[in-house]
């Protein structure tokens, strides 16, 4: 592909304008880019929690130019940068950071999710017929960022401490206390807004369960 395109270039600028060295560097660089593209596709990348409208990862990878605008405008500060550890393709794309904030789908903004609004390349774009979660009316919507999962070993309620922070935080009635007072997720009503993960205190000082490496309730991507 690259070589084809290079040939007219070589013909157009004869003599000192296009030396063997120039050609070698160009060919090396071109080959490097093709290898990088193939490599990035082959190396598996983690499925991540995306801002609303970013659920189609292929579109997100194709269109995201890493301008960081969505992260900046998020009123809840819930969008974080993605690191190399999450896969080469995901590098610098937006992902949800529910430790820092949670997504209320910009219920109180008049023009919908701000991240979708500012995205210049439509990498974040709501599909036709999208219904957003509404924290005021408890409507769940059909834009699902992920689903919450409770780790009973790390949950304070499991240890009889009577904690129900996550249940109180949930705006969509997707959490309730089970028979043993440990929160249970209603997967039908959970849209992965992350309010529960954001509210969970299981990793704060004095509340840490032995061996816990994450909060007791976390939102995971849909499989």
């Amino acid at each position: 592909m690259a070589e084809e395109k290079k040939m007219p270039g070589a013909l157009r600028a004869p003599g000192a304008g296009f030396t063997r060295r120039t050609f070698t560097l160009g060919a090396l660089g071109a080959a490097g880019l093709v290898a990088l593209g193939a490599g990035a596709k082959i190396v598996p990348s983690k499925t991540l929690l995306r801002p609303p409208g970013g659920q189609d990862e292929v579109t997100l990878w194709g269109n995201c130019l890493h301008c960081e605008k969505c992260r900046e405008v998020c009123p809840k500060g819930a969008i974080g940068p993605t690191h190399l550890e999450d896969g080469i393709l995901n590098m610098r794309t937006p992902s949800m950071d529910f430790k820092a904030g949670w997504c209320d789908f910009c219920t109180n903004e008049t023009d919908g999710p701000q991240c979708v609004k500012v995205c210049p390349t439509r990498a974040l774009i709501l599909p036709a017929g999208a219904v957003l979660g509404n924290t005021e009316t408890c409507e769940v919507g059909n834009i699902v960022l992920g689903v919450a999962e409770v780790n009973r070993d790390w949950c304070l309620a499991q240890r009889g401490m009577g904690c129900h922070e996550c249940v109180d935080a949930c705006a969509f009635d997707a959490l309730e206390l089970g028979y043993d007072h440990v929160p249970v997720v209603d997967a039908e009503r959970c849209n992965g807004c992350g309010a529960c993960e954001n509210a969970c205190i299981s990793l704060t000082a004095g509340a840490i369960a032995p061996g816990a490496t994450d909060r007791a309730i976390v939102v995971v991507p849909l499989s």
């Binding site: 000192a16 660089g29 071109a30 193939a38 194709g62 210049p120």
Partner: protein, 338 residues
């Protein structure tokens, strides 16, 4: 003169740092300024023209903001040329420092030569000018014809630009953006800020810095040999006719008195030979208006007028219409073919 030289360099450095500072403040403000991959307020965004093209190639659809951005950059390039490279791009400064040092060393030597040539000139001015004229009538540095003096010289950068577009078409995502040193610089700024603000540690910072260092330090002359963004801007700047460097042949030591002065040629980070554009690595389309040539010239023979004076004749003349059209077609082809 020395003061003047550092003046433009400092001015450029300030301009670049100002953009960097605005972006850095924007990272932690809610204004949504973005970075050089896409910069602006709210929903008005000027996208990186290469990124915009790649995103459209990846999706095989026209994205309104991307089309507008490419056209806006085209207008900027027509009016100001490749100014982005030397006035805004942080990578230009990173890769320039090495070259500047080696250049300074030889600048001192050549300046001496230039002065000697200048003082000797009046004695045998006639003979030297004749010699010089015959020497300059052909190509001064090589016997064979060596490329064009107008339009855009296609080099390795343009090959990489084509590869960037091609690989994006094949793999469906902007491949070059992953390794773009400009984007990575801004990403590193963000990660370093988050490291200090939130104590967020990640290997990514080290990886990004290593990648930028590899591209800028290990590769021979990133900007001149590899950068596809520079290649795209040079194609767009093929139409630029304003603020082009103009060599005043009467003042120039080499042209008027035959001194062996090539300070402006060595100073040019873009590889332009103002004495004989055909002999240079690139043409005036690649001029990033950094004013290094103007600042280094002992006779102040290089100026950047709004429009080159007509008397300049063949040196800074406007290209023949046919060649102009050819360039236009090529620039458009690179933009829309893929």
């Amino acid at each position: 003169m020395n003061e003047n030289k550092t003046k433009t360099y400092r001015l450029r450095m300030i301009a670049m740092l100002a953009v960097l500072a605005v972006v850095a403040v924007g990272y932690f403000a809610a204004g949504g300024i973005g970075n050089l991959c896409g910069i602006g307020f709210e929903s008005i965004t000027l996208l990186c023209p290469l990124g915009a093209l790649l995103a459209m190639v990846a999706e095989k659809t026209a994205i309104p903001a991307a089309v507008v951005s490419v056209l806006a950059v085209l207008v900027i390039c027509i009016v100001l040329g490749k100014v982005f490279c030397s006035w805004v791009c942080p990578v230009h400064f990173l890769s320039g420092s090495k070259r500047r040092k080696e250049f300074r060393a030889c600048a001192a030597n050549t300046r001496k030569d230039g002065e000697i040539g200048g003082s000797n000139a009046p004695a045998d001015a006639g003979a030297l000018t004749e010699q010089e004229k015959t020497a300059l009538s052909g190509c001064s540095s090589c016997a064979a014809p060596c490329g064009k003096s107008r339009g855009v010289k296609i080099d390795s950068r343009h090959g990489i630009l084509a590869a960037a577009l091609g690989s994006t078409l094949v793999f469906g995502f902007p491949v070059f953006c992953l390794v773009c040193p400009v984007g990575l610089t801004f990403a590193t700024v963000l990660l370093v800020m988050r490291l200090f603000a939130f104590g967020e540690t990640t290997w990514t910072i080290i990886a990004f810095i290593a990648l930028i260092a590899a591209e800028v330090v290990l590769l021979p002359r990133w900007c001149a040999k590899f950068c596809p963004l520079g290649a795209l801007l040079s194609l767009m700047s093929g139409l630029n006719r304003t603020f082009r460097p103009h060599l005043n042949a009467e003042k120039c030591l080499a042209e008027s008195r035959g001194a062996s002065c090539d300070l402006c040629v060595r100073a040019c980070p873009e590889g332009i030979n103002l004495h004989d554009i055909a002999a240079g690595e690139t043409t005036l389309a690649d001029c990033s208006k950094c004013r290094a040539c103007a600042d280094v010239c002992p006779e102040r023979a290089v100026t950047f007028p709004l429009l080159a004076p007509k008397a300049a004749g063949e040196r800074a003349a406007t290209p023949a219409p046919a060649e102009l059209d050819e360039d236009l077609v090529f620039a458009e082809g690179a933009g829309t073919d893929r």
